[in-house]
């Protein structure tokens, strides 16, 4: 191993077969109490044609098999709990465990969504309080907590825009999307029945107001903008952008994936945003869990409030009620009220920080990103020379000339004990390295990470082939993704 590798040592990890391969007939890990009613024969109750025999090849393992199996698998993962996880745009901050404890309180974990409102007041209060906090943070007027993730929030948000425009007589045809946008933005616009028109960013990586002015006509429903954008740059002319849209009767949608750069510092409601979503699993510290669950609340200005999906919380006397009587509401985007367990976690995070603590977290996130930028700038090409907010984006220009690209650098970072940054996104940067450290990293961890990237830059100068063959130290060496897609095997078979 290279001397530059400080954070990890190569260590043996245990092998483990698939559950189906460790199964053996008759093994079981479950317990059920004895039935307190007569046992019924399924064939008699349901009809023989409606029942099944044993499920072929379903696992048969003991309790000890189960815990060893999943524990062994877990050791093959990287995690925030193991160190800095600098995925740009993903906001991989520490997930406080108090959030988990709060969500598992019996009165939070077990309420049924259809139990009477009178027996759900605590759950409704949690949602109301979170709505209040999110309004305060965004400077918007009303919030729905129904969407299950960011992309789902985008969908709800665009439907609100459509409903609003329809109420004015014309839903319009197009959504404008900057070329730096995340893939969910165009996919969402399409799902909501709009055509997508891409807007080229200017030489500073921002929305070009000249181009925008030309693009906005009576067919344009909205612009979907991310601010700070996916380069980590604050859209300097955002207020003008809003005005250009509003003058033509179009609305401004903000993808709030990067709110970690703004909380307590700037409010979208104050710079012309009409509707936005938040990712509670980014900004508000709820865990990613290997890909979800998330929560994507949508916040709107007054003009859009009548269209928010039903049901909405309503205060009647000293009680909360669910109000379904909302004639202008766009339809439901999800059953029940949203990912409530995630909402509990987000509120716990907000309470732990308080208003001043939230702002401090923002400033620390910006500090950490700028510190990394400064340390790396001499070794990697910054993509756009604009002030960074909570993340910084480099290109692989320097390393590319020596034969290594952002993907190679990412894989080599794994050998140094770090999860890679976001690779090759945003698309407007050739060979992007998108780095978001978040506020929860210490200087020590940031330095280890910067040292690792600098060491890799040097390795590329000395032995580029070695870097291109990485990772070298993982249990699983470079994975053949092309082979996987050629002939997909997506389930185990005997």
């Amino acid at each position: 191993m290279s001397e530059g590798i400080k954070k990890v040592r190569q260590q043996p990890s245990q092998n483990e077969d698939l559950l189906f391969e460790i199964s053996s007939p008759g093994k079981a890990g479950y317990q059920l109490p004895p039935l307190d009613v007569p046992s019924v024969d399924p064939r008699a109750a349901l009809g023989a044609g409606n029942t099944r025999d044993a499920i072929d090849d379903f696992p048969e393992v003991s309790e000890v098999d189960v815990i060893r199996h999943f524990t062994r698998l877990s050791t093959w993962n990287y995690a925030i709990d193991l160190g800095l996880y600098p995925l740009g745009s993903c906001t991989m901050k520490y997930n406080p465990r108090i959030n988990e404890a709060a969500a598992r309180v019996e009165g939070m974990a077990w309420p049924h969504p259809y139990q009477p409102d009178s027996l759900s007041q605590g759950a409704m209060e949690v949602m109301a309080e979170l709505e209040r906090c999110l309004n305060a943070i965004t400077g918007m007027d009303a919030v729905t907590l129904q969407p299950a993730a960011g992309a789902h929030g985008e969908f709800a948000g665009i439907l609100l825009i459509r409903a609003y425009l329809e109420s004015k007589g014309n839903p319009r045809k197009k959504i404008l999307i900057p070329d730096s946008a995340h893939g969910t933005n165009p996919a969402t616009a399409h799902m909501a029945g709009y055509q997508v028109e891409n807007i080229a960013s200017n030489s500073r990586g921002m929305v070009d107001t000249e181009i925008l002015m030309k693009a906005v006509d009576d067919d344009v429903a909205a612009l979907m903008v991310t601010n700070p954008n996916t380069l980590g740059v604050f859209e300097e002319h955002i207020a003008d952008v809003a005005k250009i849209l509003h003058d033509k009767g179009a609305l401004l949608y903000m993808d709030g994936a990067n709110m970690n750069a703004l909380v307590g510092v700037s409010r979208p409601g104050d710079f012309g945003v009409d509707v936005m979503h938040l990712n509670l699993h980014k900004t508000f510290s709820t865990p990613h869990g290997g890909g979800g669950p998330g929560s994507g609340p949508v916040a709107v200005k007054k003009i859009l409030e009548p269209f928010l999906p039903a049901p909405r919380l309503k205060r009647v006397g000293d009680k909360w009620e669910w109000n379904y009587n909302l004639p202008d509401a766009v339809g439901r985007v999800r059953a029940f009220y949203g990912n409530f367990g995630v909402l509990v976690r987000a509120l716990a995070y907000i309470m732990a920080h308080g208003g001043d603590g939230l702002k401090r977290a923002t400033l620390d996130a910006v500090l950490n990103a700028n510190y990394l930028r400064k340390r790396l700038e001499k070794h990697y090409q910054i993509a756009y020379n604009e002030p960074s907010m909570h993340e910084c984006v480099f290109s692989d220009d320097i390393q590319k000339k020596l034969g290594a690209d952002t993907g190679n650098i990412a894989k080599r970072l794994i050998d140094y004990g770090f999860h890679p940054y976001t690779v090759s996104f945003p698309l407007i940067v050739h060979g992007a390295l998108m780095i978001e450290p978040t506020e929860t990293e210490s200087k020590r961890e940031l330095d280890l990470f910067a040292d690792a990237l600098i060491s890799i830059a040097e390795e590329i100068e000395e032995n580029v082939e070695f870097v291109k063959q990485s990772p070298h130290s993982t249990r699983t060496s470079k994975v053949d993704e092309v082979g996987a897609a050629r002939k997909p095997v997506v389930r185990w078979k005997r």
Binding site: E16, L19, S23, K27, Y30, L32, V37, P42, F58, P59, V61, V66, I67, T71, L73, W76, Y94, I98, E100, A102, V105, G107, M108, W110, H112, P113, G122, A136, I137, A148, A151, H152, T184, H190, I238, A239, G264, F271, N279, G289, G292, G294, R332, R334, A335, F340, M351, A352, H353, G354, G355, D356, L363, P387, K411, V479, E481, A485, V490, R491
Partner: protein
């Protein structure tokens, strides 16, 4: 750090923001609180919610015992605090578990392919309908009126902007099962999908084979929905469906006032390129060892943008892991025994009450209370610390006298006796 950057204060870092967009007040959120105060807040509020007291509510959210193993595993930081497994070499744990999940969902449903999860069943339903639209090149959808009302509502929301007309077909007033005569008259050469739930919203098992025959005869696909996954321990899998969309909340996922849950979409092999969401596939590493990675990403938004099969990105991975651990703990024998217990309990209570429908039911059924006042009955039960069933008038005006009651392995005989006494 400030010196390295070359600024003198934290505020300097955001000084470049235009003054007009700066927020200069203090956020109106109370000062930060300690762990103890936060837990206390949620405990106190929690006490005002009904939690684990006896309840006969089901209707898409079921109260099943959660084996301790489930939280033990999902609390491991390596699962809890990792991101989507894009970097396969350092995410083999998550990838392997998802591969096992996909495999078990195929075994349960009789399908060939299952994705890594959807948000929940209600959003999986429109995604399944859109899959059928793409696969058939047709545009309209028929959905049974005894599919969960909120799933139908969500389907309506998505369909409106897809140019996808959705029409409902009736259920049989006698059996509570889908009315296939009505279905047959509504099927056209433009029908992309027939959507059926089994067990349906009334807890009744449907004839999937016959629905498939009808749909296929007209060139439409059959989409089968489920909301009570435990039924699959004894109810025949919907093998004749083309697409199965469902909810795994029953697999050790707490009701949590309605979420987070985990939906799935599974399908026949021929539809694999139409499936939304993430898929894990088997492959090899450079040294020839078995490895797993995300695959067929060209269906997804981060590659395909507006031409993607869906906009879904974040899914419900950790919740799907809960379900995976649950399925491992119960296994082949356990799931069967669990399902039999559910069936037996529902039969016990069912035998004491008048039924609205005659179809075979799993762990839920509709009781007919006749002229009695449902709300009053539920208040009487509430006084005895029991949450009664769901009055159906809210979703079906014609079923004003109907109450949907659910029994699971957690329902106690003495509580069922009380319900029978109050409702009989």
């Amino acid at each position: 750090m400030l010196d390295t950057i070359g600024v003198s204060s934290l505020e300097d870092l955001v000084a470049h923001l235009p003054a007009a967009v700066r927020y200069n007040d203090r956020l109106p959120i109370p000062d930060g609180k300690s762990e103890y105060e936060i837990l206390d807040y949620f405990r106190k509020l929690g006490e005002t919610n009904a939690g684990l007291q006896a309840s006969f509510l089901g209707a898409g959210v079921y109260r099943h015992y959660r084996p301790v193993m489930v939280d033990t595993i999902v609390s491991r930081g390596e699962f809890l605090t990792s991101y989507t497994p894009y970097q396969a070499e350092m995410a083999q744990g998550t990838l392997t578990a998802i591969f096992e999940f996909q495999s078990m969902i195929c075994q349960l449903t009789g399908m060939d392919v299952a994705n890594a999860s959807m948000y929940d069943a209600s959003t999986a339903v429109p995604e399944a309908a859109m899959m059928a639209m793409r696969a058939t090149g047709r545009s309209s959808v028929l959905v049974a009126r005894n599919v969960h009302p909120e799933y139908r509502e969500v389907l309506g929301t998505y369909a409106k902007f897809q140019g996808m007309p959705v029409q409902e077909f009736a259920f049989d007033a006698e059996s509570g099962q889908a009315n296939f005569d009505d279905l047959a008259t509504k099927l056209t050469s433009d029908t992309a999908a027939v959507i059926l739930q089994s067990p349906n919203f009334f807890g009744i098992v449907e004839d999937v084979k016959q629905a498939a025959a009808l749909a296929h005869e007209k060139g439409a696909l059959l989409v089968v929905i489920f909301s009570e996954a435990v039924a699959m321990g004894i109810v025949a899998p919907p093998r004749d469906a083309d697409i199965v969309a469902g909810e795994l909340q029953s697999f050790a996922i707490a009701p949590s006032y309605g979420g987070p849950f985990a939906g799935i979409i599974a399908c026949k092999e021929k539809l694999i390129r139409q499936i939304p969401g993430r898929l894990v596939g088997e492959t090899k590493d450079k040294d020839g060892r078995r490895a797993f990675c995300l695959t067929l990403a060209t269906r997804e938004q981060h590659i395909r943008r507006e031409k993607a099969t869906s906009n879904i990105c974040t899914n419900q991975a950790l919740i799907a892991l809960m379900a995976t651990v649950f399925m491992s703990v119960y296994g082949k024998e356990g799931l069967r025994e669990l399902a039999t217990q559910n069936l037996s309990k529902a039969q016990y209570l069912g035998a004491k009450l008048k039924h609205r429908f005659s179809g075979p039911f799993f762990n839920e059924f509709v009781a007919d209370v006749g002229a009695k006042d449902v709300a009053e009955m539920n208040r009487a039960l509430e006084a005895k610390k029991i949450i009664g069933g769901l009055p159906l008038g809210r979703f079906y005006p014609e079923l004003k006298n109907g109450v949907l009651l659910c029994c699971t392995e957690m329902t106690r005989r003495e509580d069922m006796d009380v319900v029978a006494e109050v409702m009989a």
